[in-house]
Amino acid sequence: MSLPSSVAATAALLEAGGYVADPALATTVFLALAMQRPLFLEGEPGTGKTEIAKVLAEQLGRRLVRLQCYDGLDLAAAAYEWDHARQLMAIRLAETSGEAGVTDIYARRFLQSRPLLSAIDPDLPPAVLLIDELDRADEPFEAFLLELLADFQLSIPEYGTVKAAVAPVVVLTSNRTREVHDAIRRRCLYHWVDYPTATRERQILARKAPNVGERLSAEVVAFVQRLRNEDLFKNPGVAESIDWAAALSHLNQHELAAEAVDETLGVLLKYQDDIAKIKGAEAARLVTEAKSVVR
């Protein structure tokens, strides 16, 4: 499928994939597609950064190539690896058959693709490359990405340069557990994904948790929005709201009730300090407030 031609078309495309984007994000995604620049999304966990890449892949009819980052991620795991066993075998075969050429052990067939190489492989259909949680990888790994992000190509010393036939859509995400280097930031379009407004969060819930009743979902959103203003160690993300609404729905709740909120608080808050702080009186107060707003 071709790339969207305007911001409105981009918003519609994301919408069709079940992603409710605010105008700023839709503009950013449109520009990333139009300018063929990588998209660097930073934000709190659970604000839908990874989801954008998935929806883009689905809606653009491209394959999704995902690279989950971790400490110690190296070229062999991220980009490519030579198949040493087959190379050795080829050398032995050449010896026994009396042929001289051993230099072709660096042929393409001995090269094993990992996500980065696969995303720019000109022999494969166009891709959406998701480099997830870049902050989890250590700094040396970022250097591997620079060439790829700037020119959508990889230089392999023994083989040559592999360049994408169609520029992949590249999405990088970070939770800011570490500051990503300026060199990466400069090559990307940067966007901070914030928590959604109440209206948008209700739209998201309607999309993502369709089985949850209107009243419950409105109250859940009002409650979570208020909770984010409390002084918590970790604020609940949209993903947590969706899970929580689904959890309450599974418990056959049709509206917020203080007891059910207390029992399911662990779906929303993931630190004991936060749960202890909110549980009981504070939760009851927030429930009352949320109800008064919805009514």
């Binding site: 300018m35 110690g72 230099t103 023994e158 160690f233």
Partner: protein, 411 residues
């Protein structure tokens, strides 16, 4: 940078085609630069390109187009939006000057500062004088609580430090290294006596001998020191040490990578970027402008709470070691201190408390703040003189003994 046709074309829109738009973007970028945003020529080209792709009648789209190309950090977003609102409200030149002034008002006043190093130059021409005693060698300390009730928003004057003092202390401090026990990473590097076989390198070497493997190439794991996070108290009771500790922190920040430095009194300031300036005088001048609360009161609990909330997840990854430099004398009566110390302790690999009060032999952890903090630290050490700094550094190179803290906790 691989760009489609638009950028490959000889950039006609920038100077001519768009008329005032391109010129305005240029002016806007200059405004942002004056406000302290790092915007390079590449960003400018990208911004011009981006703006032409969105609906120029739609203000939000234009703002986002400029923002995604010119802003690379979340911290700068607010400043950008503010500048955008001022600049793109009225394009007339007369208002522009106002906008410039408004933006300039948001950052520290730049000019009529004596260029750093000027005083040192002046002193260099003066005849040699008797070096004053560096303050860290003083033996007495007043135990009076110098915490003032109102927050004293004063800027500390580093001018008081003479070149002789600097060079004396600097020479000493430069010899200090922080040899924290290294952590194994998952990276490999070639090493003939390494424990792992590097097949890729082995095969490459074998090609020289017609595919015959003569020698195995080996590699070993790389070790590197863990990230270091320093939280330093600059309240009134600590001011005697702040000056010399800053030197130490500057030396540490320039000696190794991954050092984050925070100062706290009544508020928390991240001075990591300022300390990275090579010249200590330049660095300290930047620090003194960035930090508003020199020699005020201390709210340790609150400062730690802010650190835990805003920074801990960003800087405490990958086995970070935390140096907490404070005397533990808290103005707030240790409110929230215990909880936040516990959170901090649980978020880092090793928490070391450096306390200048520990210089006294008869020191006993009596103060409320100290008692609240002690259960949550891995090590407790003095830091009041060059000698104690040196002792600290020696002890840091070996892992902490689990029993060491017992004598403080039972006290």
């Amino acid at each position: 940078m691989l760009m489609p046709e638009a950028a490959m074309a000889p950039l006609p829109p920038v100077p001519t085609g768009e008329g005032r738009l391109a010129a305005n973007i240029l002016n806007f970028a200059r405004l942002l630069r004056r406000a302290g945003l790092p915007i390079g020529p590449a960003d400018l080209l990208a911004a011009t390109d981006a703006v032409q792709r969105v609906d120029l009648g739609n203000r939000t789209q234009v703002r986002i187009a400029l923002r995604v190309t010119m802003v690379h950090r979340h911290e700068h977003t607010e400043l950008f939006d503010h500048a955008f609102n001022i600049f793109w409200r009225d394009p007339e030149a007369s208002r522009l000057a106002q906008a410039m002034a408004a933006i300039d008002g948001r950052k520290e006043p730049p000019p009529e500062r004596i260029p750093p190093g000027a005083r040192r130059l002046a002193e260099a021409f003066r005849p040699q004088q008797e070096p004053r005693k560096p303050p860290e060698e003083r033996q007495e300390i007043d135990a009076v609580m110098t915490v003032s009730e109102a927050e004293r928003l004063q800027t500390m004057d580093f001018e008081a430090m003479s070149a002789a003092e600097i060079s004396h202390a600097k020479a000493e401090i430069r010899k200090l290294r922080l040899p924290l026990d290294e952590r194994r990473t998952r990276r490999l590097r070639p090493d003939p006596s390494g424990s792992r076989t590097d097949l890729r390198a082995t095969l490459r070497a074998s090609l020289k001998h017609g595919g015959e493997i003569i020698d195995l190439s080996r590699s070993r794991r790389v070790t590197r020191p863990p990230p270091l996070v320093v939280l330093c108290d600059i309240s009134g009771s600590m001011s005697r040490y702040a000056q010399i500790l800053l030197h130490f922190l500057h030396a540490v920040a320039n000696d190794r990578d991954r050092v984050q430095t925070f100062l706290f009194g009544t508020r928390l300031s991240n001075i990591s970027r300022q300390l990275r300036a090579r010249d200590p005088e330049v660095a300290f001048q930047m620090v003194s402008h960035a930090v508003p609360d020199w020699s005020g009161g201390t709210r340790i609990g609150e400062a730690l709470a802010i650190f835990n909330q805003d920074w801990s997840r960003r800087v405490l990854g990958q086995g970070a070691v935390v140096l907490l430099v404070t005397d533990g004398l808290d103005r707030d009566g240790a409110a929230g201190l215990s909880e936040n110390m516990e959170r901090l302790h649980k978020s880092c690999a090793r928490l070391i408390w450096l306390n200048p009060l520990l210089r006294w032999d008869g020191f006993a952890p009596k103060s409320q703040g100290i008692r609240a903090m002690l259960p949550h630290v891995d090590e407790f050490r003095p830091v009041h003189s060059l000698a104690s700094l040196r002792a600290l550094i020696e002890s840091l190179s070996r892992p902490a003994s689990p029993r060491e803290m017992d004598r403080w906790r039972t006290a």
